[in-house]
């Protein structure tokens, strides 16, 4: 039955169009700001209609942005390593939780679930990671705190495992003499790929966007700044800007990343997200809806 096109539909689409455009506008501004010629920026400010365009900001990044490149590498490394570790720990834990006959299963489930209800706060965490475990100024400081395991993710993986992997298959494998690790690697992981990709997307995005681990745990090793941390430090620390070498500059240019260059760096930071957006959207939406259904 074909639905009739009523004024409601027309207004609805118009509203949604306007809304979507309004949502996109800030990104457009960011992009245009990075392409605006520097003097035009100083004269007219950031604008949707730049007086003059220039690729100078991006040229600068490509030619002289050593710090930017290295922070990009740090971000990629942390994201890849962190996501892989996260998935490994989460999948193994979830696997255990999915075995109905596992002694202590309820306790182990509660053990991870409780972390969603209560946490000790920043102060004890900081004292522990910094003073007792000495991770300050190391790469591990960007990977270990907070993001390595997430209760919601683990429980969602477990739900998927119990729901989509038939118990008969596991029992048949056991009768054939397979050990649990073997079952995990050969049956559960392949069948669990959809949920692992979804949860990997969540974890990966969290690592990519993280800047808080840096502000707490990276103070001296500025080569360990992720790109988000670099962007953060450019705002907060003019001293850092004035003193550090951004990779050699020709004479006549200021050593501090200018307004346009800052926007260019920010745009470069979100570029992977924009490029991967269809992929991210598919799995992120899936994950969000899974989370909602669960409760």
């Amino acid at each position: 039955m074909k639905k009739k096109l009523t004024p409601y539909h027309i207004f609805s689409v118009a509203f949604l169009m306007l809304f979507s455009i309004a949502v996109m506008v800030p990104f457009v501004l960011l992009f245009l700001s990075s392409l605006t010629e520097e003097h035009s920026l100083i004269r007219n400010g950031y604008s949707f209609f730049p007086e003059a365009f220039s690729l100078k900001s991006y040229e600068y990044i490509l030619a002289s942005g050593k710090k930017i490149f290295s922070s990009y590498l740090v971000t990629i490394a942390v994201t890849v390593i962190g996501t892989l570790l996260n998935l490994s720990l989460s999948a193994m834990y979830a696997f255990g939780l999915s075995l109905k006959k596992l002694p202590g299963r309820k306790l182990l489930t509660f053990f991870i679930f409780f972390t969603m209800l209560f946490n000790g706060g920043i102060v004890p965490s900081y004292i522990m990671w910094a003073s007792y475990l000495h991770i300050k100024d190391t790469l591990m400081a960007l990977i270990l705190p907070n993001f390595l395991m997430n209760a919601m993710n683990v429980l969602l993986i477990r739900t998927y495992f119990t729901g989509s992997i038939p118990e008969e298959m596991l029992e048949a494998a056991q009768i054939d003499g397979a050990s649990y690790p073997h079952i995990f690697a050969r049956i559960v992981l392949p069948l669990g790929k959809p949920i692992l990709v979804t949860m990997g997307t969540f974890a990966g995005l969290a690592y990519w966007n993280d800047w808080t681990n840096s502000i707490y745990y990276i103070s001296r090793r500025t080569d360990l700044y992720s790109i988000q941390a670099l962007l953060n430090v450019m705002i907060t620390n003019l001293q850092y800007l004035a003193n550090s070498d951004f990779g050699g500059l020709s004479t006549g240019e200021s050593a501090i990343p200018t307004a346009g260059i800052q926007m260019a760096i920010a745009f470069v930071a979100i570029l992977p997200i924009l490029v991967l957006f269809p992929f991210l959207q598919k799995y992120y939406s899936k994950g969000l809806m899974l989370g909602a259904v669960k409760g």
């Binding site: 096109l5 539909h9 609805s12 002694p103 706060g121 102060v123 004890p124 475990l133 991210l280 909602a292």
Partner: protein, 323 residues
């Protein structure tokens, strides 16, 4: 739930290996426990040990004596925290902002979800869903830069283009606390609306279309259909999401209040929340006593709130409760 032991034994599968020795039963699972061990260790280190660290709020912590050696000082840190006006301001800000977020996210989220689901063109539908999700994937640092492009004193689009066009003089945004409740709410909505909307969309998609068919045949108008079918079906999701948000009402999004405000001191009266207060106490002022008291206060109240809220959700709809 509620299956008796006898029934369990009766339906015990024929093919499984049964073993009467209790030790062997556990021994079989040792590889599994080993697989779970890294996770368990991590949870202890990252979550449980810091939980016990809440006692720092009751101690006069100093770095030399460390966690175990520092002397107890009872409720002194809490008294110290609550005698300042800060405690009131940060609590008020945190709670009021969260309330505003809850109300706006629900009303706007439902509105958008209904409109998007009613969009007939599949391509447009997908486009709208993508558009509202995109800001959600950004980090607060990036959002802070974008807001800066609007509000910067010298270069911002507001001061350079918009205000002059309206015939007004420039405003020093980062020094004007009164403007920020509005700015914060706007930015948070921009970034977060996709989340709730997507959830409501998936709920609406799950509604049996025959309800709408029957209503249409009875001559119900669009508005009536929404009121009598869509909204009632959305109530469980809305209630669950709301109550969970209420349970977290003492927690603010640190990135929002730190990055978007550029940590501007002039704005503290309207943008300082518990999370930023704890951060500054710990990392900037080295005022560990107050910071840990504020953190403990936040965690403990939050915990009881979630328990209370879950109990309420339980009473309303058993399956929607967290536990």
């Amino acid at each position: 739930m509620g299956v008796s032991l006898k029934e369990k034994q009766r339906f015990h599968r024929a093919g499984t290996v049964t073993n009467s020795r209790p030790g062997a039963h556990i021994r079989k699972f040792i590889p599994v426990y080993l697989m779970m061990l890294p996770g368990i260790i991590y949870l202890i280190i990252n979550n449980y040990l810091p939980m016990s660290g809440i006692v720092i709020a009751f101690k006069q912590y100093n770095v030399r004596d460390g966690f175990f050696g520092s002397p107890w000082n009872g409720f002194s840190n809490f008294k110290y925290l609550f005698t300042t006006n800060d405690a009131f301001i940060i609590t008020r800000n945190t709670i009021l902002y969260n309330l505003a977020f809850i109300i706006i996210n629900i009303t706007l989220g439902i509105l958008l979800a209904i409109l998007i689901c009613d969009t007939m063109n599949k391509h447009l539908k997908k486009m709208f869903q993508s558009a509202i999700l995109l800001p959600f994937l950004m980090s607060w640092v990036i959002v802070g830069y974008i807001v800066y492009a609007f509000l910067s004193n010298e270069n911002g689009i507001m001061n350079n283009s918009v205000l002059p066009m309206l015939g007004r003089s420039p405003v020093a945004w980062y020094n004007t606390p009164e403007a920020w409740p509005f700015i914060i709410i706007l930015v948070n909505t921009w970034k977060g609306i996709g989340y709730g909307t997507l959830i409501y969309i998936s709920t609406i998609n799950g509604i049996d279309p025959t309800y709408y068919e029957a209503a249409r045949m009875d001559g119900a108008k669009r508005w009536q259909q929404i009121r009598h079918i869509t909204l009632p079906f959305l109530i469980p999701s809305v209630v669950t999401l709301t109550l969970l948000s209420v349970g977290r009402i003492m927690n603010a999004d640190f990135g929002l209040f730190y990055q978007v405000t550029r940590n501007s001191g002039m704005l503290y009266s309207t943008t300082n929340v518990i999370d930023t207060y704890v951060y500054r106490g710990l990392m900037v002022n080295a005022n560990l006593g107050r910071a840990s008291a504020a953190g403990a206060y936040q965690s403990l109240i939050g915990f009881f709130l979630i328990i209370l809220v879950n109990w309420l959700v339980r009473r309303f709809s058993n399956e929607h409760a967290l536990f």
